[in-house]
């Protein structure tokens, strides 16, 4: 099989503007989730991991005028620029494709006062694609994937497929989403928000915490596109559908089990670690425990990163994959922040303490509204 390398990456969250900064804070068990009391966003106080506007503008001001771009666009640009600076991939080349993954893009522009500043078209995701093409002088129009909470992971799967089939040499994948009144009110109407920082897989978990984030992963068939020759490869990945319910996961973990089975079928490897979706809703975590157990993976160490930066929606698959790649490179299993005692009916091996561990590969999974699931294997070259 043609090898595809993870060349460089970046994570932008309240925990930092690079993968390293995020990792350093995560190792200190710092979370970006806190209580917010902002009636502009929600009538009641809520817990979320939000990026400070001032910090974002300061970072952005080092390369452009912050007033010209929306929050969402600034996050994308910050993340992509940092990842590119750690690679020698020519972003403007015909052989390079940019894939943008997001659920809602510039959704804050639907609020009347903001629309007037940037204009109607700016809410459209194709417009973001156009803007990025101009900003970065890209050869190709960026591809936009909008597939709920598996968007990020699916974008990586698609990027790897396009390279494997010889259609591109490099693919730059960015996943970004902002958290606004629109998103908070929606999840709140589902009663799926936590009463404190979320607690994935825990007995006392009571919902998810939303988070803002932007993540970038650069893939290439040429391992020398990286400053330090890359040691992590992207394997096979698949998406599936539960065909069961549009807003709740399958009780039997059907779709996720199918996606994992396809990955295990394509790679005859023993899985060393699972980076779960782990949103900390009752149903999601229970469903994942069933799917992992059905796939015979109940003894494989598993964690969720949601306790550090919340559920970052369309960015989640990208920033969590970047962290999983970090874990592989450093042979380190990070703990599931917020987890204390197992609260799922199938006894899976949730990582409760950061542990050095020789890792060969990582199975990354995600699930989302619309009954969609995705699974992908990262492995060491």
């Amino acid at each position: 099989m043609k090898e595809i390398f993870a060349i460089a990456d970046n994570i932008v969250t309240p925990l930092g503007f690079s993968t390293q900064e995020n990792a350093a804070n995560m190792l200190k068990n710092i979370t970006g989730i806190r209580q917010w009391n902002d009636v502009q966003i929600a009538p009641e106080p809520f817990y979320a991991s939000l990026i400070d506007d001032e910090t974002l503008n300061q970072k952005f001001a080092s390369f452009d005028d912050p007033a010209r771009f929306t929050r969402f666009e600034k996050m994308i640009i910050c993340s992509v620029k940092d990842a590119l600076s750690n690679s020698n991939v020519d972003f403007t080349n015909k052989k390079t494709l940019f894939i943008l993954s997001t659920t809602k893009g510039n959704i804050d522009l639907l609020e009347k006062n903001k629309m007037t500043v940037f204009g109607n078209e700016r809410t459209s995701l194709w417009h973001t694609a156009r803007l990025m093409k101009e900003y970065f002088s890209l050869y190709h129009m960026p591809l936009v994937v909008s597939n709920a909470c598996i968007s990020g992971l699916l974008a990586i799967i698609i990027g790897a497929r396009l390279i494997r089939n010889g259609l591109f040499e490099n693919v730059v994948i960015n996943g970004s989403d902002i958290i606004t009144e629109f998103v908070i009110s929606g999840f709140n109407s589902f009663k799926s928000l936590s009463t404190g920082p979320c607690r994935p897989f825990d007995k006392t978990r009571d919902g998810l915490s939303l988070g803002e984030g932007s993540g970038t992963i650069i893939l290439s068939s040429n391992r020398n596109r990286s400053a330090v020759p890359s040691s992590v490869c992207i394997g096979e990945g698949f998406s599936t559908n539960d065909a069961n319910h549009i807003s709740g996961p399958s009780r039997t973990g059907e779709g996720l089990f199918l996606a994992i089975s396809k990955v295990l079928n394509a790679h005859a490897a023993r899985i060393s670690y699972i980076s779960a979706h782990g949103t900390a809703t009752l149903y999601n975590d229970e469903m994942e425990s069933i799917a992992f157990t059905r796939a015979g993976l109940q003894n494989v160490p598993v964690n969720s990163f949601k306790g550090y930066w919340g559920h970052t929606l369309g960015a989640a698959g990208v920033i969590e994959s970047a962290m999983a790649i970090y874990s592989l490179k450093n042979n380190l299993l990070l703990n599931t922040l917020g987890f204390n005692e197992t609260g799922v009916s199938n006894p899976i091996s949730v990582i409760s303490k950061a542990t050095p561990c020789k890792l060969e590969n990582c199975l990354k999974v995600a699930s989302g509204f619309g009954g969609c699931n995705a699974a992908l294997l990262f492995y060491k070259a």
Binding site: L125, W126, V144, N147, I158, R161, S189, S239, N241, F369
Partner: protein, 210 residues
């Protein structure tokens, strides 16, 4: 191996057609037309009424696309992939959700609206209806992008990730709607009229009577 477009369904300008199926009613508003068409074709699926307009459009398109095609007998549920695209994502429903929260004195966000603020939920609705469990993805393009859809669906078929694909364009915005969806298979199973799965053919069908 060459792939073929074995059927297609076009719904726009208050006209729905797929193969020998055809229905039009220009006397009603576009969103009402979808309900009229649903009734005309005798489809019985009460959940249709709970869907948002984008999902109704996608659902109806695939109903007509598969009405006379034995896709369910020919393929395993996991071998059917649904790859759809549009320009406006779920904007028509985003606006409804935004309206429900923009005024604090009339603050009524509803989960049954919010769930449709993701375009891929339409793919979920189609999968539930037809029990398809294979690959799915929703892409956003400024215009119908035959070249990309062809490239990606061909890749999925070449790599045997799927055996059959429902692909195309399902667009819904506040002013207008348009759906053109295609059934792509390894060979023509049910009709003698072979149309090769090529970007040019996708475009030719897309531009029919438009």
């Amino acid at each position: 191996m060459p792939y073929t477009i074995t059927n297609f369904c076009i719904i726009r300008n208050n006209k729905a057609q797929a193969g020998s199926l055809s229905y039009s009613d220009t006397s009603v508003a576009g969103h009402e037309f979808l309900i009229k068409a649903y009734q005309h074709f005798g489809i019985s699926y009460p959940k249709f009424y709970k869907m948002d307009n984008l999902s109704r459009l996608g659902f109806l398109s695939v109903e007509l696309l598969l009405k006379n095609h034995p896709v369910h007998q020919l393929y395993k549920p996991e071998d059917v992939g649904i790859i759809l695209s549009n320009a406006s994502s779920s904007l028509s429903t985003d606006i409804i959700h935004q309206r429900s929260i923009s005024n604090r004195s009339e603050y009524f966000p509803s989960p049954s609206v919010f769930v449709y603020t993701l375009p891929n939920v339409m793919i979920g609705e189609i999968c539930i209806r037809h029990k398809f469990s294979g690959e799915g993805c929703f892409f956003i393009h400024e215009r119908f992008n035959a070249a990309f859809l062809h490239q990606y669906v061909k890749l999925l078929l070449d790599n045997r990730i799927i055996q059959c694909s429902i692909t195309g364009w399902v667009e819904m915005n506040e002013q207008n709607y348009e759906s053109v969806v295609y059934l792509i298979e390894k060979q023509s199973q049910t009709n003698n009229q072979i149309v090769n799965f090529e970007p040019g053919e996708l475009n030719k069908i897309y531009l029919k009577d438009s």
